[in-house]
Symmetry: C2
Subunit: 214 residues, 2 copies
DNA sequence: AAACGCTTTATTGTATACAAAATAATCACT
DNA sequence: AGTGATTATTTTGTATACAATAAAGCGTTT
């Protein structure tokens, strides 16, 4: 695992908390490499939007409620668009991938592992793989690239929320709707279902935030 | 001007042509700095999508017709979305900026400078400033950031085309429509006018490409 | 005691040497 | 002469020393 991947993981899992200062020197200590690869990793993380550049160095980025809302909204726009393209371009192989990814998602969410952190990670990963399968089928690498930039929100913001069984099953169901629309080459429906799916995720996150802060 | 900006300029203006190999050593010669800032600039240009990473080093990126089409399409989506947000959030100051930017655009296109390269650059710059004014008014830094990634197409692809007076005036007119819709807080109209405007740009580029290649 | 300027320290920017790895070139062998 | 393995060369990855600059600390002045 590269330094970049390790730091990314640390930011996403919350090991570095928003506002934490990240100095090159300290990171060389932590990862036992020189400043050169650290600098490279920091630059990439800046691009990902996970850290904020200061006049001197970086801090782990903090996300306001407004940030989260805006990020989810534009993500919904882009993934909806990708889904509509997929409905046009999908091959049989693409459909197989989506079915397989959603089946894997289902078996993970029905595992009933008492919300252990590994279980949550597994669910998030399977969910991600489903979305990737849809995005890939769009055959549009540029859109794919933009979406990647917009799904990097730290785990804190989408982990401990929607892990009510009912909501997981709702996600599974919407995945099915999305696949069906793409199969039927109904691009308007694919787009709208994807929009809806992501907005539901957004709302859960925002509700949870409301509960925490207020 | 930083090394990054110089290299970016060189790529956009076509000094480095698609497929040209970019080695760190050669660039240290050219810019008379060490490899460290060169590496930093290359990484940034990779994020911008202006260069393609190889197993060893980079090449100046080449854009296929398909690439151009897909990039313009998703740009239209994003800028249309930004325009619709602007219609909701715009302040009087935002409107002033848009009017001013479009007025500057108009006086530049009516200068009749016989399509000198500086004139073309000036037109592109004024056009860019208008778009920035609209995007800014959206108050959505994340969308703004995504759009930046998608307007970096080298100059070659959008310079010598739409410099027919008639088409420039068409652009000016659509700018006016966009501003009016934003002023009226008619977000659907703002979005659709912006879509249309960018698609027109896309089509001119694609037509020109058709003419060139055969 | 607050504010200003100076000195010190911390931290990044740059250059460069060396290690590792990929590509190119060479030579031996068939 | 063509092919494959081996060596040489090019090129990037990494470490580190030094320079430049920003931030912090400190004392002096008002």
């Amino acid at each position: 695992m590269s330094v970049y991947e390790k730091m990314r993981q640390a930011l996403i899992t919350g090991k570095y908390k928003p506002g934490d200062r990240l100095t090159e020197e300290a990171l060389t200590e932590e990862f036992q490499v020189s400043r050169t690869p650290i600098r490279s990793a920091l630059k990439q993380l800046e691009f990902d939007g996970l850290i904020t550049p200061l006049r001197r160095g970086y801090v782990a980025r903090s996300f306001s409620r407004k940030d989260i809302r805006q990020i989810y909204d534009v993500r919904s726009l882009l993934e909806g668009y990708a889904a509509s393209l997929s409905a046009i371009h999908r091959t049989d192989e693409d459909l197989d991938n989506m079915y397989a990814a959603n089946a894997a998602f289902y078996s993970t969410i029905t595992e009933q592992e008492d919300n252990k952190i590994e279980h949550i990670q597994a669910i998030l990963q399977k969910n991600h793989q489903f979305h990737q399968a849809v995005i890939r089928a769009s055959q549009d690498p540029h859109t794919e690239d933009l979406i990647r930039k917009v799904v990097v929100l730290p785990l804190v913001f989408h982990s401990f929320f929607w892990f009510q069984q009912r909501e997981l099953e709702q996600s599974f169901h919407l995945h099915e709707v999305i696949i069906a629309a793409i199969k039927d080459q109904d691009s308007a429906r694919a787009r709208s279902a994807m929009h809806e799916h992501i907005y539901q995720g957004r709302d859960r996150v925002l509700e949870q935030l409301e509960r925490e802060k207020g």
